[in-house]
Symmetry: C2
Subunit: 137 residues, 2 copies
């Protein structure tokens, strides 16, 4: 028995207003649910991307709430979105048009797959990569 897949990918950021603007303007992502100062929830493929403010989620919830455990991290998280070679070209153009710095852009020697990296306003390391870098399609 082992997990069959991931349902929720989570990163953290403190200024969720800046995050919401960036993900909408640069990545075309609109939250399907949000709670000001605490969380932004996005759909992405067959799962969700949850962005939490650790200043809120490390605090225990009120006794009347569902017993969701506290969690939260400080620093620079990382998430990689899947993209085809053609899509990576389009994302690179989009990032440049929006004034977002491309921190790295290279081909992994073993797979021939390409990755491009940039930052969200919380400093999280975001990436677009071809699934073949992991032997996936």
């Amino acid at each position: 028995m082992q997990p069959s897949g991931i349902l929720e990918t989570v990163i953290y950021a403190q200024d969720l207003d800046a995050i919401e603007r960036f993900y909408a303007d640069v990545l075309g992502m609109q939250p399907f649910s949000k709670l000001a100062g605490r969380q932004l929830f996005y759909r992405c493929g067959d799962q969700v991307l949850l962005i939490f403010n650790p200043g809120a989620t490390t605090q225990p919830l009120p006794a009347a709430a569902l017993p969701v455990p506290p969690h939260g991290a400080l620093g620079h998280g990382h998430v990689c979105f899947k993209a085809s070679a053609r899509e990576i070209n389009a994302w690179r153009e989009q990032l440049q048009a929006k004034g977002v710095a491309i921190e790295a852009d290279f081909i992994w020697p073993a797979s021939g797959g390409r990755s491009i990296y940039f930052r969200d306003p919380g400093g999280n390391c975001l990436e677009f990569a071809e699934p073949k870098i992991w032997g996936l399609t």
Copy 2:
């Protein structure tokens, strides 16, 4: 244009030996790649789960290496694995048999879907949940 899916979900932990034992013994997950003290890479469904030691990944790489940007977070991350109602019952039994505390176990009122929560040795908040908690199948 928006991201079509997530390719890499990332969490952090400092004692990767303890993490590797826990993910193997409790979750049945074997890394397909690892680098002692730095990283453990797992396949999970159609993507990968990467567990990094932030003490290593926040440091710049040698100039000769590929220019993978530094990242890393301290605290307690969160990841949720998808599971059916039947699988959640089996995971609960497995966690209890392995002596892992169930931190929470409840039904979300809006969806009727169940979540169970526990911790990995790094304090990361792990969850099994039914996809229907997000309106997914």
